[in-house]
């Protein structure tokens, strides 16, 4: 029974983190590309858009997750029809993860040597070519590293989502460990989380190192 409960918690955490991070990955990269290329001196320079988008990202980055989650309850209900369970947690998690990951990816993209962009222009690349063939491949190791950080941060946040009824490992640890003083369960969950985070970090680092040809 313990095993089944832990397995269910593991699956819930995995779903919450996996789905929200995947959406953050798909939305965050274009967002980061727009942030970098629209900046002053960028290949699609648009200072007004850049400032507006930057302010928007900062807004969501500055709200603590617990508060964001509560504030988004009406929006969550609108999207998934409920405010309880795994899928209800995915909405605020995604909204927190996307700007978080976009900022990290933005830094990697901005660090691409300007000389490479100049070389690409000199060889007759159009601006889309520069994004696709230069910016993204050159920044990929950094983007992978940033996505690893995002995954780990989302495991952290998903535990908070657990506290308002989303399930997952964090929820189990909170209920049994904190509310029932069952330290055995709590320790098991902690060990599981440590293993999960270590596995993600190790895998992410390996991948990033493999992609880095510098």
């Amino acid at each position: 029974m313990w095993f089944e409960r832990l397995l269910q918690g593991f699956i819930d955490t995995f779903l919450m983190v996996g789905v929200s991070s995947l959406i953050a990955l798909l939305a965050g990269i274009p967002l980061a590309v727009i942030l970098v290329t629209s900046a002053k001196g960028g290949i699609f320079e648009a200072p007004a858009l850049n400032r507006a988008l930057g302010a928007f990202v900062n807004l969501f980055r500055s709200i603590p997750f617990l508060i964001l989650m509560v504030a988004l309850i009406p929006f969550t209900r609108l999207i998934v029809g409920t405010t309880y369970g795994v899928w209800a947690a995915v909405v605020p998690l995604t909204i927190a993860a996307t700007p978080f990951f976009a900022r990290i990816a933005e830094v990697s993209l901005r660090e691409v040597d300007h000389g490479l962009i100049e070389a690409a222009q000199a060889m007759g690349c159009r601006r889309w070519h520069i994004i696709w063939h230069v910016l993204l491949p050159e920044a990929l190791p950094g983007i992978v590293g940033g996505f690893t950080i995002t995954l780990v941060t989302m495991i952290n946040s998903s535990a908070m989502a657990g506290a308002i009824g989303a399930g997952g490992l964090g929820d189990i640890a909170y209920r049994y460990g904190y509310q029932r003083f069952d330290s055995q369960i709590m320790l098991t969950v902690i060990v599981l989380l440590v293993i999960l985070v270590a596995a993600i970090q190790l895998g992410g680092d390996r991948l990033a190192r493999g992609l880095n040809k510098r």
Binding site: Q121, M123, K213
Partner: protein
């Protein structure tokens, strides 16, 4: 080269293309700058990086632009492929003003102008092969044609066995060879070299300059390079301009600028290549002779304006007495012998003034430096 040359830059021409009629000679210029200026908006108001540049670069020549850092070389060379947008004046390539090109025509223009860089600017995440292939890929060239072209160029630069390597695994010279292959992949008519050898050691510099010379001869393309090293100009260029504070201060064939530099900046840039007066001699040099036995020290400069080399036997017998060679050398640039000789003449039957006049029959400039015992 005729106008029908296959290497002629072909740019789709709009209906309103500006064709400028100039002096017939200038009409054959490959690249021409007319009153070119560039002003940046600095923090302390506008900064003029270039002003009033008038210059014609001929088809097939190796043209050097030299100057100290901040002289405007980089800005000037970048106006040729519009990486830099001039604020005044015009750039004509094959008599076509490129100033008003939209992105589409600019992309086509840039595919016919190769460029190599001081820090190579290779894509670190791509192999040597993928780096050279990239310009063809973005131009939509089919795979078989791409493969043939990349193989051909890697062979030209001597890197066929390194095609799977990543740039980080290559030496500086090899990286620049990849840069050259990448720049030539569209069969450009012009190659721009932005301090292409400044990050390389002397030996590698020589091999890269040799390769550029060979490319210039074999493919007949126009090479325009910027550098702060006069040695690069001497080794590869046909003509040179000296840039200072965004203006041309001197220009001409390389042998002329080397043999007889007019401007202070040119002289400063040439200084490391020239023999200065050795220190031990400097200490012994007296402004006036202490006795009649003292030797006169003469500096003879050969500017290369004469076609023949200095005849030493004739020179020595004209000077008379005992002539010692203290220091000197002659080098050949573009078939002209230029250099200098430091001579100590003692026991000559004629006076100092007379010696100077006689030496002037062989050397273009003769200077009396002083007297030694």
């Amino acid at each position: 080269m005729s106008a029908a040359s296959p290497l002629r830059l072909e740019i789709p021409e709009p209906h309103n293309a500006v064709r400028t009629e100039l002096h017939p000679d200038l009409n054959h210029a490959h690249v021409r700058f007319i009153g070119l200026g560039k002003t940046y908006n600095g923090q302390q108001g506008p900064v003029a990086a270039l002003h009033g540049i008038d210059l014609a670069i001929q088809r097939g020549e190796v043209f050097g632009i030299i100057g100290r850092s901040g002289a405007g070389k980089s800005s000037l060379i970048r106006t040729i492929n519009r990486l830099e947008q001039p604020t005044s004046g015009r750039v004509l390539i094959d008599q076509v003003d490129i100033g008003e090109f939209d992105e589409e025509r600019l992309v086509h223009l840039r595919r016919r102008i190769g460029m190599i860089f001081q820090h190579f600017n290779l894509m670190s995440a791509k192999t040597v092969w993928q780096n050279v292939e990239l310009p063809l890929k973005v131009a939509g060239v089919a795979k078989p044609a791409r493969e043939q072209k990349v193989r051909e160029l890697l062979e030209l630069v001597g890197l066929q066995d390194k095609h799977k390597a990543y740039p980080a695994q290559l030496s500086g010279g090899q990286k620049q060879r990849v840069g050259i292959a990448r720049a030539l992949v569209h069969d450009p008519a012009i190659l721009l070299c932005d301090e292409a050898t400044s990050a390389l050691d002397p030996e590698t510099t020589q091999s890269i300059l040799g390769l550029l010379r060979e490319i210039n001869r074999r493919l007949g393309l126009t090479i325009i390079l910027i550098t702060h090293e006069m040695a690069v100009i001497r080794d590869i260029c046909d003509r040179v301009v000296v840039l200072e504070h965004g203006k041309i201060v001197e220009q001409g064939p390389v042998w002329q600028v080397f043999g007889n530099p007019q401007h202070e900046v040119s002289k400063t840039l040439l200084a490391p290549l020239q023999h200065s007066l050795p220190e031990d001699l400097q200490g012994r040099l007296q402004p006036q002779p202490a006795s009649a036995q003292d030797a006169v020290v003469l500096r003879l400069q050969f500017t290369g304006s004469r076609q023949d080399e200095p005849d030493l036997a004739a020179l020595f017998s004209a000077l008379g007495g005992r002539v010692r060679l203290l220091q000197g050398g002659v080098e050949r640039i573009q078939g002209h012998a230029l250099g200098q000789l430091l001579l100590a003449v003692s026991g000559s039957p004629v006076g100092t003034e007379q010696l100077q006049q006689r030496a002037a029959a062989w050397a273009q400039q003769v200077e009396v430096l002083g007297y030694v015992v």
